[in-house]
Structures are given as C-alpha cells and as structure tokens.
Symmetry: C2
Subunit: 107 residues, 2 copies
DNA sequence: TTAATATATCAATATATCTTGATTTATACT
DNA sequence: AGTATAAATCAAGATATATTGATATATTAA
C-alpha cells in the first residue's frame, strides 16, 4: 500500500507531471537545464525531482557538479502506464534550453 | 491535465484505495453497509465516495433512500490499470457486513 | 402532514504539501 | 587552502486536504 500511495502521490502534482513529460520528450537533463527551460527556481526543482526519484520514476547520474535526471528503465507496469497516459496529455511544453552545454549555466 | 490530476488525486488517499479494493471485491454497496464494514462515520464515507465518483471510478444507483455505489464500467485504460494495481496490494480487508439486508441499518 | 431513515453538505480544526529564499554540501579549478 | 558553480536541504509562510460533529436534504411510511 505504501509503495502504491507514494507512486500516486508523486503523480499528484502539476509540476511533476510536466517534469515527467519533459523527460519523456527530451531524455536526460540536469537541474540547471530544467531551470532554464521551465523557468523554475532550483530548490523547487530539486524537491520535485527527489520526490519523483524516490517514487521510482527517475534515476540520477552525476557528472561532476551536474546531476542528470532521466526516466528510470525498466519501469514496472503501473508506472509505465502512467508515463504513457502523461505522454498523451495536452500539455504546452516549454522549449528545451541547454545552457549547460555552453557553459552558460549560472543560477 | 486536469482530468488526469483529478484521477490521480482520487487515488492518493488510503481510505479511497481501500474503498476501491472493497468495491472490487464485493460489488455494489450502500453507504450504510460501508459504515458497518469499515467502521467509518457517514460523512467521511460520503465525502470519499463523492471524490471517487467525480474522478470517474464509481457510479451510484439510488434505490429508495439507499445509494448503491459500485465501480463504473467500462473504465478507461489508466483507471483499469489502477484498479488492477490496487487488486494486488497487500491490504487487510475488513469483513463484509450488510445490515441493510436485515433492516439493521441505523446510524 | 409528520416522523423516521439514509445520505449529502457544512463549519471548524488538524495535518500535509507546495513555494520561496537562505543555507549547506559537493565537486572542480587555481 | 580558497573560490566558484551545481545541487540539496532547511525554515517560514501559504494553500490544500482529511476528519469530525452538526445540520440539511431526500425518500419512505404512518
């Protein structure tokens, strides 16, 4: 029950649904690129990324000071269905920005 | 997005997960039988049943003063997967009681 | 119409969650 | 060591959600 509720709780937030959709669309991204793309402050993103990670949706790979988050694979059935459902939602996706690739990543 | 968040929000509560599991197991039940079976007060049940209904999981059929709730059919894919997931959770289900069938349904 | 019963809604309180800005931690570079 | 950058955590305030007891609504029966 706890695992299920944690999974569902992670989905129960507009910001996190947008994040999942954004990862589904663009693959691995660092926090700094998410800030630039989504126009959200770092502490907010960090919080939501942690919740998604601990709910089993995301994984992290560290490269230097950067933390690259991406959708975990393989996902179990229910989480996959959730991602699939989110993929078909009518969401306005902001344009992807990758300042990290140009050394322009300042908070 | 709104419909998805409403669906997910409905799943994000231990009481409502238990209710879905109980309906999945026993079919249509009136509020009064739920009170007796689950040991919850009426206003609490009424609130959660409303949330589950408005999230598309339940339907209601009135018979006199009784309101019989049951899992809606057909369910769309994501909601079906949610029910399926809940079906496999390790939940201690209280014993079913049907005082309504014996005229013993007093609050 | 009146009373009785089942359910729905309301008001108040308690608990949880989200957002922001400040601080801390971790890594890389000189 | 000292500095700089990316990310994580913390503290405070704001918003949302759950619980309870009281009240309102709706249907049935006398």
């Amino acid at each position: 029950m706890d695992d299920f509720l944690k999974t569902v709780a992670a989905l129960n937030d507009e910001t996190r649904v947008l994040l999942l959709r954004f990862f589904d669309e663009h693959g691995a991204l660092c926090v700094c690129d998410l800030q630039a793309s989504l126009g959200m402050i770092q502490s907010r993103l960090s919080r939501h990324l942690k919740i998604l990670k601990e709910a089993g949706f995301l994984r992290v790979e560290r490269k230097g000071t950067w933390a690259y988050y991406s959708i975990r694979t393989p996902l179990d059935r229910f989480r996959s269905e959730a991602i699939e459902e989110i993929r078909h939602l009518d969401i306005m996706l902001p344009k992807l920005q990758k300042p990290s690739q140009r050394g322009e990543c300042s908070l």
